[in-house]
């Protein structure tokens, strides 16, 4: 049972590309962390809640795209994988949105007021 490193070293172009990715990743994590703290900060700010909501949606979208596009390699992979994922993502987002619209605010009121 050898514990030696059995991986064969990669070719030069692969090495160079992966090294470039390293910097991309590090830059990305800085952006992601910043976005997270920004999220934390804005919620204590006295903004109107609608603005805050859109701010949160926007920031999490940025983070979402960052992880999917770079960490998950979609940027370097074929478009097909993006499409497969997008099908699920779009249908899921649409379903969530439709559900949110279908349920009204407030829920059942007490059955006292009867309008004719």
């Amino acid at each position: 049972m050898s514990v030696t490193n059995t991986l064969t070293p990669a070719s030069r172009p692969v090495l160079e590309e992966e090294s470039r990715k390293y910097f991309t990743f590090v830059n990305l994590i800085i952006v992601l962390t910043a976005a997270t703290f920004f999220e934390l900060i804005i919620i204590v700010m006295p903004f109107p809640s609608l603005l805050l909501m859109w701010g949160l949606i926007g920031l999490s979208l940025v983070k979402f795209v960052g992880v999917v596009w770079w960490f998950m390699h979609l940027r370097w992979d074929q478009i097909l994988l993006t499409l497969v994922f997008l099908v699920g993502l779009i249908i899921a987002t649409g379903t969530v949105a439709a559900l949110m619209l279908l349920f009204e605010e407030g829920g059942p009121e007490v059955a006292e007021e009867f309008q004719v």
Partner: protein, 365 residues
């Protein structure tokens, strides 16, 4: 493929066609007790009209597309005389034909979509001119019976709803246990009663009539037995009915000593009051006495049906209902008791007591 085979097929087809034409000829009448094809109110009429539009459109499509299919199959069947070595032209389709068919079917759908949208608005909003003299009824669906409350009149009844003919009714639909669905086909399409949700609908009977309704959402064991009636009566009769209910029941059960029997039958009724007070009053209410779990029985004797519209209201049926409720209506709470409470299964009721209660209940005119 032999020729005689082909002839046989054509023959079968013709017979089938002729058969179905004959069948449709002998169809009907369509005025069954719960028929949506016999509308007696403006909402049901609108829904019927829209149905007829869809029927005409799809009927037209069925005849044209189905006819084309039939013609194609007949026209291009392989014949014995065909040269087996020639193959038909390998054509692949035509964009203009495709586009034309798409547009044509879209046009057909518009014909249906217009009355649909109009019908939705009509159904969801009671027309303005009906508002003024509309009455309000709160409907509660329970396993397996209906409670009808007239909040403006302060009346509660069960399973049989009186409405004035010619006036609209606004219904507030509630359920506490499971989902039910309120449906009187001749007056209006159905709407569900859902726990935790407030639904409402409206309906109107144009003329006086006796309308059958039924729970249309599966609600457990005795779902099939959850019927009700809507009885549309002329205005004066409706007033009289309201007043009778407001006055209270014919027999006051609060003080059984006050009942002074004149003959044997009335003596029996007296026994019935006692038995009712012993066995039933914890769930059923007569006048201002009794529990609220079961149907209000204040004017039971004047109802046309019992056991939520399943049986006609007569002494034999009532006797059977009290003697073996679980046979009449499996799973019902009168027999099994509601969540830890006792039901008829836990107590002995003698035949005489049942006789007496039948006499008493039917006397509650």
């Amino acid at each position: 493929m032999s020729d005689s085979n082909a002839k046989f097929r054509t023959l079968t087809l013709l017979v089938l066609l002729a058969g179905s034409v004959l069948l449709t000829g002998c169809l009907g009448p369509w005025d069954q007790k719960q028929s949506a094809l016999d509308p007696r109110g403006p909402l049901a009429q609108d829904q019927y009209n829209t149905f007829m539009v869809t029927l005409y459109v799809t009927g037209f499509l069925f005849v044209t597309v189905g006819g084309t299919l039939l013609y194609t199959v007949w026209r291009f069947r392989s014949r014995k005389t065909d040269d087996p070595n020639t193959i038909p032209k390998q054509s692949h389709g035509h964009p203009v034909i495709e586009l034309g068919l798409v547009l044509a079917s879209a046009a057909m759908l518009v014909v249906i979509a217009v009355p649909t949208i109009r019908g939705i608005v009509y159904m969801e909003n009671m027309p303005k001119d009906l508002h003024d003299d509309a009455i309000v009824i709160n409907v509660t669906g329970l396993q397996w019976w209906w409670e009808f409350e007239y909040p403006e009149e302060g009346i509660v009844t069960a399973n049989e709803m009186y409405i004035p003919a010619g006036r609209a009714v606004h219904l507030n639909l509630r359920a506490d246990d499971v989902i039910h669905s309120f449906w009187v086909p001749k007056l209006a399409g159905k709407k569900d009663l859902i726990p935790g949700q407030e639904n409402e609908m409206w309906m109107k009977a144009d003329e006086p009539g006796y309308f059958y309704g039924q729970c249309a959402e599966f609600c457990g064991d005795s779902h099939a037995y959850m019927l009700f009636r809507v009885i549309a009566v002329p205005e004066e009769e409706y007033r009289a009915w309201i007043e009778k209910y407001q006055e209270g029941p014919a027999i006051d059960i609060a003080d059984p000593g006050a009942w002074e029997p004149d003959d044997a039958h009335e003596e029996l009724i007296g026994k019935g009051i006692d038995a009712f007070r012993r066995h039933c009053v914890s769930c059923h209410r007569v006048g201002d006495q009794g529990g609220l779990t079961g149907p209000n029985l204040s004017h039971f004797g004047s109802r046309t049906t019992l056991a939520a519209g399943w049986l006609d209201n007569n002494p034999e049926n009532l006797h059977r209902w009290l003697a073996e409720p679980e046979r009449v209506k499996p799973g019902n709470l009168m027999y099994y008791g509601l969540q830890g409470m006792t039901g008829l299964k836990d107590i002995e009721i003698s035949d005489e007591e049942i006789e007496a209660m039948v006499a008493f209940l039917l006397a509650l005119e």
